[in-house]
């Protein structure tokens, strides 16, 4: 290095650092409880690494605004204190053990105490050395280290004195609540000591991790945690994520976009309530409590890192869900039916991508039909021919007409439905499942009785008038007799009609719209009912103007009956026709001169 050059050390503004932690990294000042629990737990884990029979313990003592967190873990030597408590960003968790068993990782945890306390006093006695050390760190970035009288037992005490604004966080009840929130799964006994009285808070064996717990125990625990009386519960396991947990079935319909609250623990320490990326999308109908020893947290320890282990874990969790549903189909049909009734949307989504699940649950899956909601089992039992339509427009039209035809039509307009029906159709060639469009129903109407050229001539004359409405005429016989005509247009035809009418506008998009027409030939049909008395008479009317007015009125009336959009041009035509009728009607009553 050049003589003129000097090397300087970066300076850290501790006050700024504390602000950074409290305002940007940690979402709540209560995280200091989590960090203290974590440090205590890690110290005990390290001591257990030496003596596996060792019983760890954390005592929290309250004395006014002062709180002492004491563990009987491995403790720190004076060197450790200088190295690990005084160098920010350097974790004391070392070696293989650190990667595998310890919770802390980033070496910034203790700083969170400075959010709520002006100073941190750490008194510690190491398992390796017969000496005790006191370290005092302050928010202004200074610290002191001194040798003190030998503490009676190995371990570490962290003494905090509440800042005025955070005194409430040091009250026993608040601390208890936060210990239970963050550390309810920790495998360690935690005691709260105040005025000489001791309350044991945790026994290190939470119900949801205990393999001996019954379903009733788990459901009772679920109710206590989530305040919900769940429908059922099952266990979750993943080798990749070294994960164990439980999933509770929500007893009511779930909004897909609502936040899904879970409880995610990492190495038994609470991490977050969101399992983003961990659970498959179709599992929205459960709430989970999960502990993983292999997934990685982000630096703030408030969410999971999305990496290959998480992706592998997600796959294994997906299998747990499938296995649960499969088992249920053999052991408890009643619960399965309840789940499918409430959460069919998610089960359908799963079935659409998983043939095995589809085969298992086919009969239970409910579908919207023109006869109301029906399970597929009931549909196939009651109807020889099953029809479906992947278009909502088509379904709305068919629903109106199909009832009189005694047809069963499934609405398969939304996600998974079409895929699912299509899959069932391929898997079950023994069933008659057909896609249907409104025009198909038209084809099934009884043919008109042809005696002479009247019908042909009528159709030709009507077509000449209907052409301007982008429609064609047909004559059939159908029920009820008092219906004069039915307007039928499948989705493509309606879209073509819409495009046709917009094509006449003057903007530069108008000329491009023809490229979006799906099929040039599909145009809507106005089907006249030969059985209707009025239609019989219209067919033989010679007067050109009267005939045109009648066809126009029948056309717009059928649009109204069918709930179709009536554009301005159609409305004008309708009004003109009515005007003509009024003139004609009045002419018989006018005074004769």
């Amino acid at each position: 290095m050049d003589e003129n050059q000097k090397q300087y050390q970066f300076q850290v503004n501790m006050k700024g650092m504390i602000e950074l932690l409290s305002e940007h990294i940690y979402s709540s000042p209560t995280v200091f409880i989590r960090e203290l629990l974590q440090n205590g737990m890690d110290a005990v884990t390290m001591r257990k690494g030496i003596d596996s029979s060792f019983q760890g313990r954390i005592d929290v003592t309250f004395d006014g605004d002062q709180m002492t967190f004491q563990d009987n873990g491995i403790g720190l030597t004076q060197d450790d204190v200088h190295q690990f408590l005084s160098v920010i960003g350097q974790s004391s968790k070392r070696g293989d053990l650190a990667d595998k068993d310890l919770i802390g990782k980033f070496g910034i945890g203790l700083l969170s105490c400075l959010v709520v306390s002006e100073a941190i006093v750490v008194e510690t006695r190491s398992l390796y050395k017969e000496e005790s050390v006191r370290w005092t760190g302050r928010a202004d970035g200074t610290y002191e280290v001194e040798i003190i009288d030998l503490l009676p037992e190995v371990g570490t005490k962290v003494i905090l004195k509440a800042k005025r604004s955070w005194r409430t966080l040091f009250r026993k009840e608040d601390v208890k609540e936060n210990i239970l929130f963050y550390g309810s799964a920790l495998p360690i006994a935690v005691n709260l000591i105040e005025n000489g009285e001791t309350e044991q808070l945790l026994n290190g064996n939470p119900v949801w991790l205990d393999p001996e717990s019954t379903k009733e125990d788990l459901l009772a625990y679920g109710k206590e945690v989530f305040k919900t009386r769940f429908l059922d519960v099952f266990r979750l396991e993943s080798e990749a994520g070294e994960l164990q947990g439980v999933a509770f079935i929500i007893p009511n319909k779930v909004n897909t976009t609502a936040t899904k609250e879970h409880k995610i623990f990492l190495k038994r320490m609470y991490l977050c309530d969101q399992a983003t990326n961990l659970l498959p999308e179709w599992t929205s109908f459960v709430r989970c409590i999960i502990n993983s020893n292999a997934l990685q947290p982000t630096a703030s320890r408030e969410s999971l890192m999305n990496n290959t282990v998480l992706q592998e874990t997600k796959k294994e969790l997906s299998d747990c869900f499938k296995n649960y549903l499969k088992t249920l189909s053999l052991t408890n049909i009643e619960v399965l039916e309840q789940i499918i009734t409430i959460h069919h949307m998610f089960i359908k989504s799963l079935a659409a991508s998983d043939t095995e699940i589809m085969n298992l649950f086919e009969d239970y899956l409910p579908f919207e039909t023109n006869q109301g909601m029906m399970s597929f089992g009931l549909i196939k039992e009651s109807y020889k021919n099953i029809y479906y339509t992947p278009s909502l427009d088509d379904y709305r039209q068919i629903r109106r007409i199909a009832g009189s035809q005694k047809k069963l039509v499934i609405n398969a307009a939304y996600s998974y439905e079409t895929d699912l029906i299509d899959k069932i159709k391929r898997q079950r060639p023994d069933l008659s499942i057909e896609k249907i469009a409104p025009n198909d129903i038209l084809q099934e109407f009884e043919a008109a009785i042809v005696k002479d050229d009247t019908i042909d001539e009528f159709v030709t004359r009507a077509n000449a008038i209907l052409k301007k409405h982008y429609c064609k005429a047909e004559v059939k016989r159908f029920e009820p007799k008092d219906t004069t005509a039915i307007y039928i247009a499948n989705e493509d035809a309606l879209s073509s009609k819409n495009i046709q009418s917009l094509s006449t506008s003057s903007n530069p998009f108008a000329s491009t719209l023809k490229h979006f027409k799906k099929q040039e030939e599909v145009i809507p049909t106005l089907c006249f009912n030969q059985q209707n008395e009025l239609i019989e008479k219209v067919m033989v009317i010679d007067d050109k103007e009267l005939f045109e007015a009648l066809i126009n009125v029948l056309y717009v009336q059928s649009l109204m009956l069918g709930g179709y959009t009536i554009n301005k041009r159609e409305m004008d035509t309708f009004n003109d026709a009515l005007y003509q009728f009024m003139i004609l009607g009045m002419s018989s009553f006018l005074p004769k001169f």
Partner: protein, 354 residues
């Protein structure tokens, strides 16, 4: 029930739906109700909403007629609607126009000129117009002209209609990368790489492009950008089909590196091709054909709506290659014809299949 309530009920349903394609179906139902009652206010708002939702898919089937209706409603009811409400969507529509091989160059230009005049009429700078024209010339593979429009855009002020800074920078970076100026491109992309500039799809799309292009020239940094792309992909929970182009590049990279999730990604993106815009189908087919030419068999979970769906779930990859190759050439010829490019797109397919 009052139709207003019915429309509001549908809108609530739309909010709860997860898939954009489902939202489009439900919004069409609401539009029908509005039209049935000649309610142009609802008709206008619902159609804008539909365009915004369809924008998140690889399709543009409903947006074109919807936008034509909006323009018509606005032009025939002068001063009733504010044009600023739909000029942003107009930019999307211009892009959709050139992505459709059936729409002529003359029609594209007319739409561009109309957009330009409406931007000026409403007091906006021409930066937004230059943004979309840059995209158009990139589509024509005319990089010199695209650069010209980038420079023109840079000379204009930024306003509410201009592309977001992340997208503008990505375009510049892409031009540099595609014209072989790799180092320049990587340096230019620093604000995207450091995530100083982000938007819905950036820097994911930038990273995908880098991973694919760098890998093609044997540059080891491809792996770094692939990792970054994957990190973005997972961090965003689930990207929708609007990022189909980038996903195709990502899948190609994954296939070459034998990434375990290749076929899962492939299956997902295949579904996006149902009813997709011509340019999306072209790009996907081109990239997938290049990847599948080695053949083999593969178990895949594909949508039964796809023309090559097999109920046994076992796919002959050479059959898929043949299918995608035919589609890629067919669209290449259509675009070449429309763009009067004398085989530029066909050559692009030839080269990628070599």
């Amino acid at each position: 029930m009052n139709y207003n309530l019915e429309i509001q009920k549908i809108l609530l349903k739309v909010e709860q739906m997860e898939k954009f394609s489902d939202k489009v179906v439900a919004l069409k139902e609401a539009i029908q109700l509005a039209d049935q009652h000649n309610d142009i206010d609802w008709g206008f708002d619902l159609r804008l909403d539909l365009i915004r939702k369809e924008r998140n898919t690889s399709k543009c089937e409903e947006s074109f007629p919807a936008f034509a209706w909006i323009l018509n409603a606005s032009d025939t009811n002068a001063d009733y609607f504010d044009e600023s409400d739909f000029l942003w969507e107009y930019k999307w529509m211009f892009c959709s126009a050139y992505r459709n091989a059936s729409i002529s160059t003359e029609q594209i230009m007319q739409i561009g000129e109309d957009l330009k005049s409406r931007l000026v009429k409403n007091g906006y700078s021409l930066r937004a117009y230059y943004n979309v024209m840059t995209g158009y010339y990139l589509h024509l593979r005319d990089y010199a002209k695209a650069q010209e429009y980038i420079d023109l855009a840079d000379g204009e002020v930024i306003d509410d209609m201009t592309n977001c800074p992340a997208c503008e920078l990505d375009t510049k970076v892409e031009v540099l990368m595609d014209t072989g100026r790799v180092e320049e491109s990587l340096v230019k992309a620093k604000d995207l790489i450091s995530k100083k500039l982000t938007c819905y799809s950036m820097p994911f799309q930038t990273f995908c492009h880098f991973a694919y292009k760098l890998n093609k020239i044997g540059d080891e940094r491809a792996e770094l950008y692939f990792d970054k792309a994957l990190e973005e992909y997972y961090a965003h929970d689930s990207y929708d089909s609007s990022v189909g182009y980038s996903m195709s590049q990502l899948i190609c990279y994954m296939y070459e590196k034998k990434h375990p999730d290749t076929w899962e990604f492939f299956s997902r993106v295949c579904e996006w091709q149902i009813g997709a815009e011509d340019i999306h189908v072209y790009n996907f087919s081109k990239y997938m054909a290049s990847m599948l030419k080695d053949g083999g068999t593969q178990a895949l979970t594909l949508s039964s709506q796809l023309p090559y769906y097999r109920s046994d779930g076992i796919y002959d990859l050479f059959d898929l290659y043949t299918h995608f190759k035919q589609i890629a050439y067919s669209y290449a010829d259509q675009f070449d014809r429309r763009n009067d490019l004398k085989g530029v797109y066909r050559k692009e397919v030839d080269e990628i299949l070599q």
